[in-house]
């Protein structure tokens, strides 16, 4: 049934209320008919008029009405209405549109600069072969004859593959050729003086020793004879050590000083990975949306080797598998109420797959269960053997989240509930064939520093300490946390908004599926000696499946945003927030002692006798596993969990002022302070079994292991291990920053940021705490704190070519000038604080590290700072034996060299048609081929044996890498 809906007439050129300026001209006539609910223009006629100035001006309403009618017709024809006979696709096209891209990124060392660290060692190239390719396709889900997703169901599928080999270089120290044979006649100390090697088999008491005086060369407690000509006879060398040496590389460089940095290892690291991401998004009944996604990656990561044989000590090769899946359901109950339900699951499996053999047997090393090459630690020399050569860690998490947003008056409330369950299934015998630590002590003159040497002790097979892992089965760890949060955003008045929130975090500690976990409880009496500290087991003796309480922590936050005087070009923001870290769940089988074995072997006095020799083999484990007795951790490095339920707490306050300036510039200034307590720290910062520093007054007696242990709070243990899980750290950070942004319609976006910050803590640094009992004395600049940081990011569509102001060509030349753009990132950062360390630690094991003394009146900063003298070592001195250093943990003014990096990408787009294009990209990483200095040598030697390299920098690193990329988009 047709009926006339409207008819109109208008002069197409006239302004309302004004005389018509044109004559003759056209008047368009429209007659709009409607049939059922469909609109059609049935008639469009035009007529020429003369003398139009006499025609009354058209009224806007009629023009508008006619336009509205036209709108209905057009939108119907284009498929944008519910009553359209055919629906447009999501992008307005008449048929389904699939979009996507194919891409290839390519790197090859032919394109690159030779890295500075390679060139400095005389190399001319560094291997780099990398191909990274992939595709993405997305569009409506269409199953022929079954389902047409149209505008409702949409998919996206991406794939990427990587095949890479990249050279990695490392400058290390190995024994010189004569040293390998036991000839120490050419080996020198850090001052270049001959290094004395003493024969432990000649050790005897000094009848003239005066116990009232400190041990010195003039008052030795024990006497040892030096090897004749400083050579260890071959027949005195350990046969197992000799077999191991066959796998040890020989020097191939001479960076120095004094034979140090004499091994330059260059080897390829491999990365083979393939992954996909698939997503389906479906909208239904207007108010519902369902999104499902799944992603996976499979691959292999091969480490760059330091030693090109089974003795390699690099990280193990590994296979990896990552899976991610999520389902998100969004329900819009009303325009003022939205509910989002999300279920996520992910798993990451890492499997160390370094080649094994039967190395302990082949080397003649008895008493260990593993088959991998044993780990040999030689102090500053390159180590041998891998940690965790064969291991498997599977982490997974299931996270369920429901968020509800609702508007109530001027308040917007958001309620969130999230439950997360984490699992770690792990099998990680870290040292299956054992680790063997060799120190200078055995070949030293007892009590005299700068005598003896790690490798000499190794040649004798004299193990200082040793341990190995005996892990019969995997562990299956679990924990969960629950978050309930309420956030209220309150628009108090125009230009002033407050936001308040309270988040309750409930965190459950770790459990094990079969209750196979344990810890030392420091409040339980150990039956072996009647002292506090005994091993307890989950689910036994009144202990639950976890050792810590479920922690419920309130996490408030507050913020406001204010436009001063209602000026929208200026915003002041203030904020405060407090949060707690949840109980972590970590890889590895720490905390399973008794179910797993970890025998430790210590020398009774490392200056006199070894724990054992390599040819003797590892003594039998004193306690076969499983051993679920309170004494199972005795005479081991006992694992201790803090059970008080303390969790790291972080707080921050901030203020910022943002101002929009003329020319499209936006400037922001910010001030912020953040601080935290009870941060998780490790053995470098906490030791429940530590000796108080004043006990160093016992001096050389402390080298006697039995005496030393008798002084400790928990003498039944050799040591304690808290595995980075002890809540004891504190920090404070103060920062001021300025940011300038510029964004223009010409395609320029530029952001520059400068930040000045100071951060202090009582735990960080490469060497750890000197004094566990004086937190104040450990408070210092955070290692890694870069006070000045500047970064610049920019993107610019070059102003040439079509639709741009310059080089606009109508002919073929536009193919050359169209579609150019550049992007860049530059960063410059000042160096972090220098941490200085005394070369020798003759404190009887009381201090884990010894800081240096500060020499008063000597400026640590040289007049001409450079790689030859980055700092003045004369400003520092080595503390005497059995004394702490007086200097700070990190130096307050000395900084490592600044670093800078500049990356640039240039791309050229070739438009094929409206939808399809080809983009070529050339990216230069460190494109100016800048070299950043390496770090200076921060070890300060004694007056008699100074480290001549202290304060000096050896070499620099970095080099330009070019990547070429091609992407076809459709």
């Amino acid at each position: 049934m047709w009926k006339v809906e409207s008819a109109s007439a208008a002069c197409a050129a006239c302004s309302p209320g004004s005389a018509c300026k044109r004559a003759p001209h056209t008047v368009n006539w429209y007659l709009v008919l409607r049939r059922n609910s469909s609109w059609f223009v049935a008639l469009a006629a035009s007529a020429s008029l003369l003398g139009a100035q006499s025609t009354p001006p058209a009224k806007p309403a009629s023009e508008l009405q006619r336009a509205a009618e036209e709108f209905k017709v057009l939108s119907r024809d284009l498929g944008y209405r519910e009553d359209s006979p055919r629906k447009a696709s999501r992008n307005g096209a008449s048929r389904p549109q699939f979009h996507g891209r194919l891409s290839e990124n390519f790197r090859n060392d032919v394109l690159d600069a030779v890295p500075h660290e390679i060139a400095q060692r005389g190399g001319s190239k560094n291997l780099l072969r990398r191909n990274q390719w992939g595709f993405n396709v997305s569009g409506p889900v269409i199953i022929p004859k079954l389902y047409n997703g149209g505008r409702k169901t949409f998919f996206s599928l991406s794939y990427e593959g990587v095949r890479e080999r990249i050279g990695r270089s490392s400058l290390r120290t190995v024994p010189i050729l004569t040293e390998r044979e036991g000839d120490y006649s050419q080996v020198v100390d850090s001052a270049g003086e001959p290094l004395e090697i003493y024969d432990p088999s000649t050790t005897r008491l000094n009848p003239n020793y005066d116990p009232s005086q400190a041990v010195s060369r003039d008052n030795l407690q024990y006497i040892k004879d030096p090897y004749p000509n400083n050579r260890i006879p071959v027949d005195r060398q350990d046969p197992v050590a000799r077999k191991i040496i066959a796998f040890y590389p020989k020097p191939n460089a001479d960076a120095g000083p004094f034979f140090r940095n004499n091994y330059f290892a260059v080897a390829p690291e491999t990365n083979t990975a393939s992954g996909m991401i698939a997503k389906v998004d479906h909208s239904f009944l207007e108010k519902h949306r369902l999104a499902v996604s799944y992603a996976f990656t499979n691959g292999f990561a091969g480490s760059a080797t330091f030693i090109p044989n089974a003795a390699d000590s690099a990280a193990p090769d590994r296979n990896f598998t990552n899976r991610r899946g999520s389902i998100e359901y969004v329900y819009t109950a009303s325009p003022q109420s939205v509910n989002t339900l999300t279920l996520e699951a992910h798993s990451d499996i890492n499997e160390n797959v370094s080649a094994a053999g039967d190395w302990p047997v082949d080397l003649g090393l008895r008493g260990v269960p593993g088959t991998a090459f044993p780990r040999i630690e030689l102090g500053s020399y390159l180590a041998m053997g891998r940690n965790s050569p064969q291991a498997r860690n599977a982490r997974s998490a299931f996270i369920f989240t429901d968020a509800h947003s609702v508007r109530l008056g001027k308040h917007n409330l958001r309620l969130v509930g999230q439950f997360a369950r984490h699992r770690v299934n792990t099998f990680n015998p870290g040292l299956p064939s054992g680790a063997y630590y060799f120190t200078p002590s055995l070949t030293s003159l007892p009590g005299i520093v700068n005598t003896g040497q790690n490798f000499a002790s190794f040649l004798l097979g004299g193990v200082d300490t040793s341990d190995y892992s005996d892990v019969p089965s995997p562990s299956y760890f679990r924990n969960w946390n629950l978050i309930t949060a309420l956030q209220d955003t309150w628009e108090y008045r125009q230009g002033l908004t407050f936001s308040f929130g309270l988040n309750m975090q409930t965190s459950a500690p770790r459990t094990e599926r079969y209750n196979r976990q344990s810890t030392v409880d420091l409040s339980v009496i150990n039956p072996s000696n009647g002292r506090l500290g005994a091993l307890v087991f989950a689910g036994k003796g009144g202990y639950g499946s976890a050792f810590q309480p479920v922690a419920i922590k309130p996490q408030p936050n507050f913020s406001l945003a204010w436009n001063p005087r209602g000026n929208r070009k200026a915003v002041l923001r203030l904020s405060y927030a407090m949060s707690y870290q949840a109980y972590p769940i970590y890889n590895g089988q720490w905390g399973t002692r008794g179910f797993t074995g970890h025998p430790n072997y210590y020398s009774a006095n490392s200056q006199l006798v070894p724990a054992f020799t390599l040819s003797q083999g590892v003594p039998p484990a004193p306690r076969p596993i499983p051993d679920l007795t309170p004494t199972a951790a005795d005479d081991t490095n006992a694992t201790i969990l803090e059970t008080g339920g303390h969790l790291p707490r972080y707080q921050s306050v901030g203020a910022s002022y943002e101002r929009e300036l003329t020319g499209g510039f936006v400037v922001t200034g910010s001030l912020g302070v953040s601080w935290g307590k009870d941060l998780f720290v490790g053995n470098y910062a906490v030791n429940p079994d530590a000796l108080r520093p004043e006990l160093m007054s016992y001096r050389d007696q402390l080298n006697d292991q039995a005496f030393n242990r008798s002084l400790r709070p928990y003498p039944q243990f050799i040591a304690t291990d808290v595995f980075s899980q002890w809540p004891d750290g504190r920090y404070r950070r103060e920062a001021a920053s300025a940011r300038v942004e510029k964004r223009t319609a010409q395609g320029l976006s530029l952001t520059g940021t400068y930040e000045y910050s100071r951060q202090y803590d009582d735990y960080s640094g490469p060497y750890g705490k000197q004094d566990y009992f004086n937190r104040h004395n450990e408070w210092g600049l955070t290692a890694g704190n870069n006070p000045h940081r500047f970064s610049l990011t920019y993107m610019y569509e070059l102003p040439i070519g079509t639709s741009k102001p310059y080089l606009v060509f109508p002919d073929w030349r536009r193919y050359l000038t169209d579609g150019w753009s550049i992007s860049g990132i530059s960063s410059v950062s000042s160096g972090d604080p220098i941490s200085l360390r005394a070369q020798f630690n003759n404190t009887g094991g009381v201090l884990q590290t010894v800081r240096v003394n500060v020499v008063p009146g000597v400026n640590p900063l040289p007049a001409n700072q450079g790689p030859d003298m980055w700092f003045n070592p004369a400003a520092f001195s080595h503390p005497d034996d059995f004394e702490m250093g007086s200097g700070p943990r990190t130096h307050p003014t000395l900084r490592n060299p600044m670093t800078q990096n500049h990356d640039l990408s240039v791309s050229k787009r070739f438009a094929i048609d409206q939808e399809r294009s080809m983009e070529f990209t050339a990216s230069g990483f460190n494109f100016i081929n800048n070299a950043n200095w390496n770090l200076p040598d921060t070890v300060i030697g004694t007056e008699s044996s100074p480290n001549v390299n202290a304060g000096k920098i050896i070499g620099s690193r970095g080099g330009r890498v070019i990547q070429l990329g091609l992407r076809f988009s459709f």
Partner: protein, 311 residues
Amino acid sequence: MTRRILMLVLATLVVAQLFANTTAAPVARVRRVTAWASAAELNNLKAKAEGKDTRILRIKGPQDGLILLVVLDVTGDLTLVDAARAAMAAEIEKLPANVWLGVLRSQDGLRVVTDPTADRPSVTASIQQSPVSGRAGLLETIEPAERLATSLLRKTPVRTAILYITDSNIYNYREDYTNPVINMSDSRDLSRRFPEALIREKTAKLSATLAEGDVPVFVTHLAFLRDRLNDAYQTGLQQMAEATGGQAMFCRTQTDIAITITQAFERIRSVWAVDVEIPQGTPKNFTMHLSAEGVDLQYRTRFSMRAGGKE
């Protein structure tokens, strides 16, 4: 040899001819120039396209009818959307009678919610009742919206403008513009050092297409975001809007929303529409110059025409 050279020359000529066909407008056509003036009247208005005088066919000013198509692209934070709804309701009440509003939605493709009408309450109700859900849709719908509005102005003389109200975030699109890391283990994936490439490419293509339209697109973005990808996205929004003679405005705080929407409405209400006849032979991409006696003019300067002369 000579034959080969001849063949090569012939092929070159054919290719050159093919290019030539796509680079110049063979017939005269009408384009609308969006402008703002410092005065209430434009006296002795003159226009030049690519330096050549062009005929002005029609001038429509702030007193003439205006069809404003409001496209809602809101999927995220209710707080911001509610602030925008309230601000729009207030602005709609203030609009003069010569402005009619239509409401469209960009989720799951462009859809008409309310046809252009003078009925303010119904428009306000449509905006208030529009759900805050789905995926961001601006990038998929801006070109269809421009096409629809340009088709409308080709058929009717009224001023026409598009206003996007969006809280879109580049991570919330169904189509992947973020170039996500697929192989999480690939620590040396420098291809993502410049992750904005996909967004830049998309917005550059759209800008080129939108430059062929004549309806100014205004974008009010409710949630200014600072990360690198959204920075590129928001720069792209600005480029796209200004390619049409419109403007993109970003709210840096919730309290910014009302002020920004007020500014957007004021800008749209005061727009001038000048229809000019583009002379034959004008290149596909050309610049426009307007001048009027004693008046400071802001106007769209760069235009692009569809290949083949079909407007």
